[in-house]
């Protein structure tokens, strides 16, 4: 019973409480880049979730074999392997999505959500829990992307998932699907998430410099002349 409860908890935490994008502020690059339309957001969300779940399962299954010292390179290889698989599948079956995501599809390798989960969770927990954690985080990531792309597409093009929603007499504000709109909408969403979190007595989402970075543990910066620590001050 206790096991079951924690599985549900692990699953839901990624969606709301520890939403990777809005609460942990991870994976900002794809979040800003692919949210110009809902279609590409769904494509990116699902592709990244698939990689996240698979890599979490494999990393957690191999956590006792991988030597502690070389774990980061090992994680990167496992993740890159799954990214290549997803990349080939998308290219073969969804060429349209491949075209939309472009270079951001192979760049899932360096998405810090995936390496971050491997380091923070899958490397320490059993397979089933890691899979559930990956799934929850993946869904949380997809939801955040959908929310943001929905706002940007509606304001920037007057459509939702390609369908005309706003009457055509209202000129769309193209700036929202351009780069500045991405930063702006993301900033406002983080502010909203912060306000909601504060109301329920939780801390604000903050870019914590090193602690959010998956490389933190192996990084030589953790010494005394630490640039990150300097940043935190």
């Amino acid at each position: 019973m206790a096991e079951k409860k924690s599985i549900v908890k692990e699953f839901t935490k990624g969606i709301v409480k520890e939403n990777p994008v809005l609460r942990l502020v991870l994976g900002t690059c794809p979040t800003l880049a692919v949210t110009t339309s809902m279609e590409s957001a769904i494509g990116m969300g699902l592709a990244a979730s698939a990689v996240l779940v698979c890599s979490n399962i494999v990393i957690s299954a191999m956590r006792k074999i991988i030597p502690q010292k070389v774990r980061i390179p090992a994680y990167i290889v496992i993740i890159a392997g799954f990214v290549s698989i997803v990349q080939m599948l998308v290219k073969a079956f969804l060429p349209q999505i491949d075209e939309m995501l472009g270079v951001y599809l192979p760049l899932i390798v360096v998405n810090c959500i995936i390496l971050g989960r491997a380091e923070a969770y899958a490397g320490k927990n059993p397979v089933l829990l890691s899979a559930v954690d990956g799934l929850g985080m993946g869904i949380g990531f997809t939801c955040a992307l959908l929310l943001m792309s929905g706002i940007r597409e509606l304001l920037g093009a007057g459509t939702l998932y390609g369908f005309q929603v706003l009457p055509e007499t209202i000129p769309p504000m193209t700036i929202f699907i351009l780069a500045p709109g991405g930063f702006f909408v993301f900033g406002i969403l983080i502010a909203l998430a912060n306000a909601l979190a504060e109301r329920s007595g939780k801390s604000k989402a903050q870019l914590k410099g090193c602690s959010a970075c998956p490389m933190a543990a192996t990084c030589s910066l953790t010494g005394s002349e630490n640039a990150c620590k300097e940043e935190e001050k």
Partner: protein
């Protein structure tokens, strides 16, 4: 002239941070102080150019042997190994350079701008020299954005910001404004060289 066009495209019109959203993590994380921002971007330029120089011949080899599908996995490993190698060499032989750049190197392994520039060079079908120039442009663009934004953030420190926007949100909104100013360069390179 082609080289200048590629260089300017990387710095101004297709700025990696402000138009392509690559390398946002260091952009938001390491831009609080001017000197750390400059140090980080110098390290990024260095690794970008080096990574391009190394991956270009390897990609030719991969394509020749029909193994282009291995690009992602091979490139990320090369970049990771390269960064380690550079760190070791600098530490041993160029201590002064290591002291200036060394501490930023580990952060660069998982920087999407480096992998991004390598992959984009291939997508664009650049030859060796063009790839190097394009990486240099991307790196310089990274530096311009970082240094400019560090200046903006130093100004923000003393400002009276609405409570709900404090911290990350106001940083993102100011990034939006900086990025909007870069929109002004749209069409500049085409106009000059078109």
């Amino acid at each position: 002239m082609k080289f200048l066009a590629i260089l300017l495209t990387g710095i101004l019109t297709n700025n990696y941070i402000l138009a392509k959203f690559l390398g946002i993590c260091p952009f938001l994380g390491v831009s609080k102080k001017l000197n750390t921002a400059a140090g980080m971007s110098a390290a990024v330029i260095f690794v970008m150019v080096l990574a391009t120089a190394v991956t270009y011949p390897i990609n030719v080899l991969l394509v020749k042997n029909d193994m282009a599908y291995l690009q992602t996995i091979v490139f990320i490993l090369i970049i990771a190994a390269l960064v380690q190698l550079v760190e070791i060499i600098l530490k041993k032989y160029l201590v002064s350079l290591y002291n200036a750049l060394g501490i930023y190197l580990p952060l660069i392994t998982t920087n999407c701008a480096v992998l991004g520039v390598v992959l984009l060079n291939i997508d664009e079908g650049y030859n060796f020299v063009q790839s190097i120039v394009s990486s240099l442009g991307a790196g310089l663009g990274f530096m311009v954005a970082m240094v400019m934004f560090a200046g903006v953030r130093e100004r923000l420190e003393g400002c009276n910001i609405p409570k709900s926007l404090e911290g990350l949100p106001i940083t993102l909104i100011s990034a939006s404004l900086v990025s909007m100013s870069f929109l002004g360069f749209t069409g500049l390179v085409e106009g000059m060289f078109g």
